[in-house]
């Protein structure tokens, strides 16, 4: 698991990250096999992280409470999912999986593991 903090913005100063936080979310999501948007104090986020680690996956985690534009992104994520909770939100292979609900459902009905393999996050 590796964390991307607010230093991201420094490495790409010329790139227009867009005033649109949603754009940023999508951008970040497409850059790793497994992306989790989280808040450090959120226990459900902790649960979802533990789930992927328990499966042997190495997800990329963005702690939005440690990001200067985190608040906007949280709001964007809430709008995207229509949830009252902004986090956790999981992307696999750039594709939106959803919140904890959808991740668990996908794991139980057997679609999560193939997705992970497809995205190259799992080798078995």
């Amino acid at each position: 698991m590796h964390y991307q903090g607010d230093s991201w913005g420094f490495y790409m100063p010329m790139r227009s990250m867009g005033s649109d936080p949603m754009e940023r979310v999508v951008k970040l999501a497409s850059e790793s096999a497994v992306v989790i948007f989280s808040v450090s104090s959120c226990c459900m986020c902790h649960a979802v992280k533990r789930l992927f680690c328990g499966m042997g996956v190495n997800p990329t985690v963005y702690e939005l409470d440690q990001d200067p534009r985190g608040k906007e992104m949280e709001r964007a994520l809430m709008r995207l999912l229509g949830n009252s909770q902004s986090v956790p939100v999981v992307f696999i292979g750039g594709k939106l999986i959803g919140a904890m609900d959808q991740v668990m459902a996908s794991h139980i009905n057997g679609t999560l593991v193939p997705l992970l393999k497809e995205a190259g996050a799992l080798w078995l």
Binding site: S41, C43, M44, C45, H46, A47, V48, R50, L51, G54, M55, Q85, M100, D101, M104, A105, H107, I108, N109, G110, L112, V113
Partner: protein, 491 residues
């Protein structure tokens, strides 16, 4: 002999002959069920007293009505019965041999139909009049004083009647004798009869009133439930304290009620599954039953979701379940991987594909459970830190933070229920329809047994445990084996 003829034909030609045979039991002429044997049994001890009453009463009434018009025709049995409104109830009871309520709410028309339909063929082994005594406890009447009274009167008349059976006719004599007792009978007997009728009517009215009360209470109850649902959806019970009854919050009480109803439905579904499997239904029919069982579980998860908003502690501590279930509680319900483990051994034979599918399901469930447990533990730790507070305890602030953290509990129970729901939905995808039906039946039965175990445990005798450590323990267990079998007999 004229007697015998009338006795054997019963209803049929009672019209013109009635006047000459009024010393014969009128029950026969009126089409009531009196066996022919009774006519020959005058003088024998068998239920003669009861028969005498019948004769007396009939005789009294006939004499009263003789002046008016011949009423004893087959075409008008209703009029006859109406003379003794108290009697048809008893006869109806005997003929139908059914519930007591049938006796109380008399429809003289139906009584007539019953009697006229049965007199043709059947001869009751016992006189209906003799049954008056046996059925008296069913009625609101006080029979005994009347009977005793009648017996005294009857004995006079019967003696006259007996003698008259031998000679063809001594109507005037009988009339004279009859008139003396007739007056006495009129006064007391009729009053008694009227009192009995009154008592019966009153008890009928009371019953009606009670039933109406029950109905209105039922309507009120459903209205209250609806109000409760509406108010809850409007968030009035979020505080949990509003309208708390004793130690249980209203949200919890509502859920307990809904859960009790769900358990009743569960039994119904299990019966459906059981009979469906035994009847060897087609796959599509069985599939319908399986799907309805899944929807049944979807319903309880929906109800738990609502209850989680109003009283999360009630759910997560398992206060809505039985003690034995609570023992195995995980996040406010059953642990899916444990359930699958239980099922695996009983689902054989399985194809290789199915085995893989089931084990995969168990494995993913375990991983998900582990993840949720760890998240939950982190929440608990965070709460402990907040409540313990730092070196400076800022009460209100800390409380507010703690409250915020507690709110996350709802999310965990919801995710746990979600996991349970997904697991149940996944099972029929792996199994055949028949296997799935068996599987759900096993699940239902398993939890039913667990609940039964709880009640047996609670009701076990405890006194013997005090004296001896081990031997008494075993005795208690042995004693409890018998009653527990009853609990399992349904399964």
């Amino acid at each position: 002999m004229a007697n015998h003829r009338v006795g054997e034909t019963g209803l049929t030609d009672s019209g013109p002959s009635s006047h000459h045979h009024h010393h014969i039991p009128y029950a026969v002429l009126h089409g009531m069920n009196v066996p022919a044997s009774f006519i020959h049994q005058e003088g024998s001890a068998f239920d003669f007293g009861e028969l005498e009453e019948a004769i007396v009463l009939q005789g009294v009434k006939i004499r009263n009505d003789e002046a008016q018009a011949p009423l004893f025709t087959t075409g008008r049995p209703a009029a006859t019965l109406e003379m003794f409104p108290s009697w048809p109830m008893r006869f109806q009871q005997i003929e139908i041999g059914s519930s007591k309520s049938g006796g109380e709410s008399t429809d003289s028309g139906s009584a007539v139909n019953t009697l006229s339909s049965k007199t043709e063929n059947q001869l009751e082994p016992e006189s209906p009049v003799s049954k008056k005594a046996s059925s008296s406890d069913h009625q609101a009447f006080d029979q005994k004083p009347m009977q005793q009274q009648l017996l005294e009167m009857a004995s006079d008349i019967s003696r006259t009647g007996t003698s008259q059976n031998q000679s063809a006719a001594k109507p005037p004599q009988e009339k004279r004798r009859g008139s003396t007792s007739e007056k006495q009978l009129d006064a007391k007997t009729l009053r008694r009869l009227a009192q009995n009728r009154e008592a019966a009517r009153k008890s009928r009215l009371r019953k009606k009133a009670y039933v109406q009360q029950l109905e209105s209470s039922r309507i009120k109850l459903t209205q209250l439930e609806q109000d409760l649902q509406r108010a809850r959806s409007e968030g009035l019970f979020l505080g949990g304290c509003a309208g708390a009854v004793g130690n249980i919050s209203s949200g919890a009480a509502t859920f307990d009620m809904e859960y009790a109803r769900w358990l009743e439905d569960d039994q119904r579904h299990m019966l459906e599954l059981r009979t469906g499997l035994q009847a060897q239904l087609s796959d599509s029919d069985l599939r319908t039953i399986v799907d309805s069982y899944i929807s049944h579980y979807d319903e309880i998860f929906r109800l738990k979701g609502m209850a989680a908003k109003s009283d999360i502690f009630h759910l997560i501590t398992g206060m809505w379940t039985t003690p034995a279930e609570r023992c195995f509680l995980w996040m406010g319900g059953f642990r899916p991987s444990e359930l699958i483990k239980m099922l695996i051994s009983q689902l054989e034979p399985l194809t290789e594909q199915q085995v893989i599918g089931i084990y995969r399901l168990q494995h993913s469930s375990q991983q998900a459970e582990e993840a949720l447990t760890q998240g939950h533990e982190q929440l608990q730790q965070s709460l402990i830190d907040t409540i313990a507070g730092g070196p400076v305890f800022d009460g209100m602030q800390q409380m507010a933070v703690a409250l915020g953290k507690l709110a996350n509990l709802e999310g965990f129970v919801r995710q746990a229920d979600n996991l349970r729901q997904q697991t149940l939905h996944q099972l029929p995808r792996i199994l055949t329809t028949r296997q799935a039906a068996r599987c759900f039946l096993m699940i239902g039965e398993y939890y039913a047994r667990l609940r039964a175990l709880s009640s047996v445990w609670i009701s076990r005798p405890r006194e013997t445990l005090i004296s001896d450590d081990h031997s008494c323990q075993t005795t208690t267990d042995l004693q409890m084996v018998q009653p527990s079998q009853n609990h399992f007999s349904n399964f």
